[in-house]
């Protein structure tokens, strides 16, 4: 049984592409056949984060328009052979994607993979609605900021109305991935609390990913954090989120505030 998961958020820059690559890689490591699909036509990034930017020959639009076969466009990861990428086109615009074309590509991917992750572009326009259109479930990526939460709320509304599953009256599973969570800012009250976000969005929590330089570094090097052997808290959080997505019960880790030795001393003195 293959599953199509859309990774979406409404707002840009919250970590959709990083999440797509990290969850995809984490599941592929367990032997599952995974394909990550970049729907951000015209502003593709997933190939960079996956470290495959020099290997893109054909893309999603070529396959959707029927110019070439799916197998010609799939890029197999050099580190894990169960991980595949279907890149977006950088030179075309979103209008080149048609609903019928996307439906056919997703249908073909379902026959070949256990997991298909659709990396949605930001916004609520055509690219974003097509990315979610044929999904079975959604990972809503949100930062603990009011603007991000409101945009996610909007996207959840669209997931419940504009997807094929919703139109057929079926339930669209949605899970929240809270990213770029900064424990020190949260304790200072500069960010929304996890409970506040969950209260507003009222969907189950898939995981909390701490803000981390390791993630930025991993993205720039083209190696998803769940693939590069990192033992950081962020890598572990993504791995746990992937296991929860696959149906496992993993206790939730709340990112802790890292205190330096000096801070601890000062903190104790103050107390």
């Amino acid at each position: 049984m293959s599953k199509v998961v859309v990774v979406t958020s409404g707002k840009g820059g919250v970590g959709k592409t990083t999440t797509t690559a990290s969850l995809g890689a984490a599941l592929a490591k367990t032997g599952q056949r995974v394909c990550v699909v970049d729907f951000d036509v015209g502003l593709r990034n997933l190939d960079l984060v996956m470290g495959a930017e020099r290997r893109v020959v054909y893309d999603l639009i070529n396959v959707a328009q029927g110019d070439i076969k799916l197998s010609q466009a799939l890029i197999r990861d050099k580190r894990i052979d169960t991980l595949n990428l279907l890149a977006a086109s950088q030179t075309r615009d979103k209008d080149a994607l048609t609903e019928a074309g996307v439906e056919r590509v997703i249908g073909e991917l379902r026959g070949a993979f256990d997991w298909i992750f659709c990396d949605s572009p930001a916004g609520i326009e055509r690219g974003a609605t097509l990315a979610m259109r044929f999904a079975d479930e959604a990972v809503v990526v949100t930062n603990p900021e009011v603007s991000s939460v409101r945009d996610s709320d909007r996207i959840i509304g669209l997931l419940d109305s504009k997807t094929l599953r919703a139109e057929q009256g079926q339930r669209m599973e949605k899970q929240l991935l809270l990213t770029r969570f900064d424990p020190s800012r949260a304790t200072r009250g500069e960010m929304l609390h996890v409970d506040d976000v969950l209260d507003i969005l009222s969907i189950p929590l898939l995981g909390i990913i701490p803000e981390s330089e390791d993630i930025l570094r991993a993205s720039n090097l083209g190696a998803p954090i769940t693939l590069n052997g990192s033992t950081s808290e962020a890598a572990r959080s993504y791995e746990h989120a992937a296991r929860r997505l696959a149906g496992e019960t993993v206790p939730m880790l709340f990112p802790s505030e890292k205190k330096s030795f000096l801070n601890r001393i000062l903190g104790r003195r103050a107390a």
Binding site: R150, D151, D153, R154, G157, D199, I200, S202
Partner: protein, 257 residues
């Protein structure tokens, strides 16, 4: 919107005329003089609810103004620029009815004294038909209570960008009305949760409509055209369980328990 009853399953054959009657609820806008100020008030409203009138049938009540055909055309142009499409006029002078001008509609049911920019009545409009016998509007007419409509119960949060429009009766929401969401009800609105968006009650002319919510953080509350935005609400009601009703001189917000 949902007042629109379509009967698509009817047999369609070229040998039949397929004539049927169709009833819908329209919003009645009553411009008052000076028109410049009235348009400014309208713009203020639209700035808060840009899509309030979009795709809704609008009837222009011309009883309160005395304008020339030229000014009338100008007014229609001004409204069109604000995406308000006038489907007909009410109480228009015969000189304001003619080719390329909205038809004069009569026979509208339920009238309320004009309060502010947005008022609604429920005219029965036969689809694309000639006007019927007249029933004039009188402001002092006692209100035929438009109650008795069905209540709509929504068992889920109303998300940002979603708009619940139920012109026939009360709306009850079990959940939150998010920032950027909108509830428009003909009757009262009950929200068992936080309201961060906009709630507009009594649009079908029910001046007894009320708004209840268990946690008030609303962007806008409105009953029968009288409205209050977050800016001009008493900070003491923030986060409280409140009841809002229409009283002399505007909205009255009361903290419950």
């Amino acid at each position: 919107m949902n007042a629109h009853v379509s009967t698509k399953d009817h047999a369609r054959s070229p040998a039949m005329l397929n004539l049927r009657t169709h009833s819908l609820i329209a919003f009645v806008l009553q411009p008052v003089e000076p028109l410049g100020e009235w348009l400014a008030t309208l713009d203020g409203w639209l700035a808060r609810s840009p899509n309030f009138f979009a795709k809704k049938p609008i009837i222009l009540d011309l009883a309160a103004i005395d304008i020339s055909v030229r000014d009338y055309r100008d007014l229609l142009g001004q409204l069109a620029r604000r995406h308000i499409r006038v489907m007909g006029s009410e109480g228009a002078d015969p000189s304001l009815v003619g080719p390329h001008l909205p038809p004069n509609l009569t026979g509208g049911v339920n009238v309320t004294p004009p309060e502010a920019t947005a008022e609604a009545a429920a005219p029965e409009t036969p689809a694309q038909e000639a006007p019927r016998e007249s029933q004039t509007r009188t402001a002092q007419e006692p209100l035929p209570a438009p109650r008795g409509g069905q209540a709509l119960v929504i068992d889920a949060p109303v998300r940002s960008g979603q708009s619940i429009v139920h012109l026939e009766g009360d709306v009850t929401i079990i959940g939150r009305v998010a920032s950027g969401a909108e509830i428009i009800a003909g009757g009262s609105v009950h929200v068992y949760g936080a309201v961060q968006g906009r709630v507009i009650a009594g649009v079908s002319g029910d001046r007894n409509a009320r708004i209840f919510c268990t946690e008030a953080h609303a962007e806008l509350l409105c009953i029968g055209g009288a409205y209050r935005t977050a800016e001009d609400m008493d900070p003491r009601i923030e986060g409280k369980s409140v009841e809002v009703r229409l009283a002399e001189g505007g909205l009255q917000i009361r903290i419950l328990n």
